[in-house]
């Protein structure tokens, strides 16, 4: 049971300094027309905006200076992330590279690879996607079938990956492939690779989604060659590398603030003097958002302390995505609109955007069912 305690954590002064710096950056970027506040999110790809973030020193701030970082705490980084999301800034290009790929490279990559790639990520010029899921695997990573076969000087990759965000626009993938037998616990024989998408042997196919956009992609590897240098970590230890760091992915502010724009527009819609029903609904959301954010910051603090709060992160994500899923359902009744994508009225457009996307939030980054299994195990129920 101790595993599911969340100690309140105040953000340190340095984090609040960072907040001022980010707000300043965002205000200037908005004034200069570099982004339109409120419209974008962590899946909006804008290479130009990411380069500006890199130039402003807002990417990879926790990393060593030698790799383009500022050696700042995880809590300062947290503030950058949440400010970007709350502003609706288009951070999708560098989001994955900064959140997952960079840290993995820092810990596990060949020194030459680190020196080459990390400063580019920090500069906002190098973007990553994730190549974990496969057409037949979904949440069950142990069933990965894409195969890497050892050849002279490296590995040949054959197989298919799917649900990679913006694969057509990123430079690299973190790829999980089978290099050996799964073994009795089903978790062996997997290895992580860094895959350069500018090299031959990989074909990228966009997958149009229900909003009409093509954010997801599928990749087909046909004798694609990866040099040994681009193996990430030890051969055969991919599974634990991937699952061990899920707390970074699962507890972040993106699990709370995805529909923040709708929340803000709902506050605008009910006006300064809401009726009882409007005040209640807004009040309930705020009580939940404030509490979720405190829990998320608490997990960030544990990460900053070098802990591995996997179950807490799963719990925050489950609670967060459940809240995100509830929000549009309550919002549509609070201030009735017929939602319409690209409507001129911000609330109508936000409602459409969130209505179409919210059901996916309980699937991305581990389905609700996977998360609840992790929580249950930590509660001692398995």
């Amino acid at each position: 049971m101790n595993g599911l305690q969340f100690t309140p954590r105040a953000l340190p002064g340095a984090a609040e300094d960072m907040r001022r710096r980010v707000r300043d950056f965002l205000a200037r970027a908005a004034a200069a027309g570099h982004y339109r506040p409120g419209e974008a999110s962590w899946n909006s790809f804008d290479a130009g905006f990411s380069r500006r973030c890199g130039e402003a020193g807002l990417i990879g701030v926790t990393w060593p200076r030698s790799y383009g970082g500022e050696e700042r705490s995880y809590l300062e980084r947290y503030v950058i992330m949440e400010e970007m999301l709350a502003a609706g800034a288009p951070v999708g290009a560098h989001w994955i590279a900064e959140r997952q790929s960079g840290p993995q490279i820092l810990t596990h990559a060949h020194p030459a690879v680190k020196a080459r790639i990390l400063p580019e990520i920090a500069a906002g010029r190098c973007f990553f996607g994730i190549g974990m899921s496969e057409p037949d695997s979904g949440s069950d990573l142990a069933s990965v079938r894409t195969r890497a076969t050892q050849v002279d000087g490296g590995w040949k990759i054959n197989g298919r990956k799917i649900w990679t965000t913006n694969a057509g626009q990123v430079n690299y993938l973190n790829l999980l492939a089978r290099t050996g037998d799964a073994g009795p616990n089903r978790h062996g024989g997997l290895t992580q690779f860094i895959v350069d998408l500018s090299k031959p042997g990989v074909e990228i196919r966009p997958i149009r989604d229900l909003t009409g956009r093509a954010e997801f992609c599928e990749e087909v590897f046909d004798d694609y060659f990866v040099p040994d240098e681009m193996v990430l970590g030890k051969v055969g230890e991919g599974w634990s590398m991937v699952t061990g760091e899920l707390a970074y992915e699962r507890s972040g502010p993106d699990r709370i603030l995805s529909p923040f724009n709708l929340l803000r527009e709902a506050v605008r819609a009910v006006g300064e003097e809401p009726d009882d029903a409007g005040a209640e609904e807004i009040g309930r959301w705020i009580a939940n958002v404030v509490t979720l954010r405190r829990m998320s910051v608490s997990v960030a603090g544990m990460l900053a302390d070098g802990k591995a709060p996997n179950a807490q992160a799963a719990l925050v994500k489950d609670l967060g995505t459940t809240f995100e899923r509830e929000l549009p359902e309550q919002a549509r009744l609070l201030a009735p609109r017929e939602p319409e994508q690209n409507a001129a009225e911000p609330y109508t457009a936000a409602l459409a955007q969130v209505t179409l996307n919210a059901p996916s939030w309980t699937i991305r980054g581990g389905t609700r069912e996977i998360l609840r299994g992790i929580i249950a195990r930590e509660l001692g129920l398995r």
């Binding site: 069933s143 009409g212 009744l333 017929e338 409507a343 059901p359 699937i363 609700r368 069912e369």
Partner: protein
Amino acid sequence: MNDMRDILLEQTDRLFGDTVDADAWTAADSGSLDRSLWARFEEAGLTRAALDEADGGSDLGLADILALTRLAGRHAVPGPLPETMLAGWLWRRVDGDALAGVLGFGPVRPADCFTLTPDGQGWRLSGEAARVPWGGVADRLVLSARTLEGEAMLAVAEPVETAITGGGNLANEPRDSLVFDDLPLAADRVRPWPESDRGPTLMQIGALMRAQQIAGALQRVLEMSIEYANDRVQFGRPIAKFQAVQHMLAVAAGHVAAASMAAEAAAARDVDDPHFALDVAIAKARAGEAVRPVTDAAHQVHGAMGFTHEHSLHFLTRRLWSWREEFGNERLWQREIGRVVATTGADRLWPLLTDLG
């Protein structure tokens, strides 16, 4: 249920199954009307379902039209087929002539209204209506309107000379805002509509139409999810074997059955029955309430696959998320029910419920 009706429904189900596929849905996503598909429906007599046999129609009553409407929902049929059938039925109900072509009706919001002023032998129509289904695509629209004296009328107008602001719902079905400014109408294009005494309102007819479409589409979404859960293997077995998936779909099945029962009961009620209004309100409220749990479960079961444009699930779910808002969302109709019940009073509540059946 009679034999003729069963045969008609079976044939129509087959026609929709044969003609409405992912290509048709994808084409419809542009917001335009698929004329070749529409021609198939015309050929099958569906567009003239409500008309007199003498006018080449099938002479169907409201209950039969609503049964077809449910099938249209089940197949997420592109184009305003239910609207056309029901607009034809509405105009025939006031002894109007047989309306041909693509039809719509409105207004669809309680606040919108049209005004008729006499002009010689005929009339002039003015007013605005927001988000009329297929309002800018239909050949003609059956509109409720009032004379300056407040008399309720139905009018048939062609939106050709109208200011049209195009829009769409989440499924990109056209929802157009219309402004008529002194549109001249011939005398026979306007007829009295005794809605204040006994007749249904256009909002009610529209709500009943959407309730039926929702019930049909929910059933289909449930079936797709069951099929997918049995096919999709994760962690070494079909996800249908996981208790969490089973229970999620069991709960969804409850909502599908409830939505279906509510919609069917209202569809079976005669429009002149004093309980028609309450049954329509119950149908739209209950069907609307079912949309969220069922579409949630369906998308959760389908995982990332359900969000791809390639998979058909979203053609149904995007319509469901839109239809529940149209012709009054569940909150609007719940208020209607609540006010009727409050007026009836606590001690007359149970007799009201048993009387309703």
